[in-house]
């Protein structure tokens, strides 16, 4: 990214450049992104709505701020997502 790559490009290249299993998210001043390795060995639960994105390693973390019934999902292996803030 220091050389001009976008956050999405950086996250995608990390899938092959990082060693081991991982799921992580990262925020910049104007965007939020997540990446999950190709083995999908680390959990991530994701909730998206028009004005809110919530992520956690388990559902109960999201329920602490959204107790009402919502639809969440696990991103698949090798998945990258970026949201503009």
């Amino acid at each position: 990214m220091r050389n001009g790559a976008t956050l999405e490009e950086g996250l995608k290249s990390s899938l092959s450049e990082l060693d081991g299993v991982f799921t992580y998210f990262v925020a910049t001043k104007d965007s939020l992104g997540m990446a999950k390795d190709t083995m999908a060995a680390k959990p991530l639960v994701l909730y998206e709505s028009d004005n809110l994105v919530a992520m956690g390693s388990e559902e109960i973390a999201i329920r602490s701020i959204l107790p009402q019934e919502i639809t969440t999902y696990d991103p698949f292996e090798g998945e990258v997502k970026v949201w503009q803030i």
């Binding site: 190709t38 083995m39 999908a40 060995a41 959990p43 639960v45 388990e58 559902e59 109960i60 973390a61 999201i62 329920r63 107790p67 019934e69 639809t71 969440t72 999902y73 696990d74 698949f76 292996e77």
Partner: protein
């Protein structure tokens, strides 16, 4: 059963008076008395009435407390229990060895309804990792999505997710059926040993990796086949079974099963023939 007291023909030894004892042993024909069945006890089971219904709000309960309460309600004869506000808690509804209608009004966290034998469970929400692992019998229906290791090591029963599931669905499964209405992640059917998996949508990479046996049916695209997983021809009995199963599972019974891809084990990884003679030799 021969009458041991009145043996007709005497042997030479008996004629010589060498056997004077009278055999009066009890017959061994009757091994089981059905009248005594009521004395048998299967731990953790109760007589329940499905028409006897109650609700349990677990909002302010920890999982062990909630599970003990479910057990207590079954002991009171409740056959239909509705769980309110599960809110993603882990390990809810585990270890139920009973016929029971269990309904969760919300989502579960990790290890939901694990190690169960017999209940019919409906989850009106999502489930986290390892839902219904080690299921022995019964039916579990998830209305939304599921996390990874869905149905890990199940031995029997039907496990249904109407949405999409994560990676390693049916890992190490030894029986039963897993049905997914949406997509499934990588390593679906990893090391499965028996049973069947149906995925109507797409699956990720390494499908059926290192499977020993069992069958996987895929309706969509396959990321890649895993080690020793091979495609096979779909038979007419496969199609009939798939139609019946999708109907029972309440998932898209109009789905065109004739276009599904069937995956089985190539059995090149089998080492039983090499190992068993050595084990037999050791035993002898």
């Amino acid at each position: 059963m021969a009458n041991l007291k009145t043996t007709g023909k005497k042997s030479k030894a008996q004629s010589m008076g060498m056997h004077t004892e009278v055999l009066t042993g009890r017959t061994q024909q009757k091994f089981f008395n059905p009248d005594e069945a009521e004395n048998f006890y299967y731990f953790g089971t109760y007589e329940v009435d499905f028409n006897k219904r109650t609700e349990l709000d677990v909002k302010n309960m920890e999982a062990p407390e909630a599970n003990k309460k479910i057990d207590s309600l079954m002991s009171e004869g409740y056959g239909t229990i509705v769980i309110k506000n599960p809110q993603g808690k882990h390990s809810l509804g585990v270890g139920i060895l009973n016929k029971l209608n269990l309904i969760f009004e919300g989502s579960l966290g990790y290890f939901g309804v694990g190690s169960c034998d017999g209940p019919s469970v409906r989850i009106n929400g999502r489930v986290g990792w390892s839902c219904a692992q080690n299921l022995m019998a019964g039916k579990v229906v998830v209305e939304k999505n599921a996390g990874s290791s869905f149905g890990a090591a199940i031995r029997g029963g039907d496990l249904i997710c109407k949405g999409s599931v994560g990676a390693r669905t049916g890992i190490d499964m030894k029986g039963g059926t897993i049905i997914v209405g949406g997509d499934a992640g990588a390593f679906t059917g990893f090391m499965m040993q028996r049973g069947r998996i149906i995925v109507l949508g797409d699956v990720g990479i390494n499908l059926g990796d290192s499977m020993y046996d069992g069958t996987i049916f895929i309706g969509g695209k396959i990321g890649s086949l895993g080690s020793d997983a091979v495609t096979s021809d779909l038979t007419s009995s496969d199609k009939d079974w798939l139609k019946r199963k999708l109907k029972v599972a309440e998932i898209d019974e109009n789905f065109d099963v004739s276009k599904m891809t069937k995956i089985i084990a190539g059995k090149k990884l089998w080492n039983y023939d090499n190992l068993e003679p050595a084990e037999k030799k050791g035993a002898i």
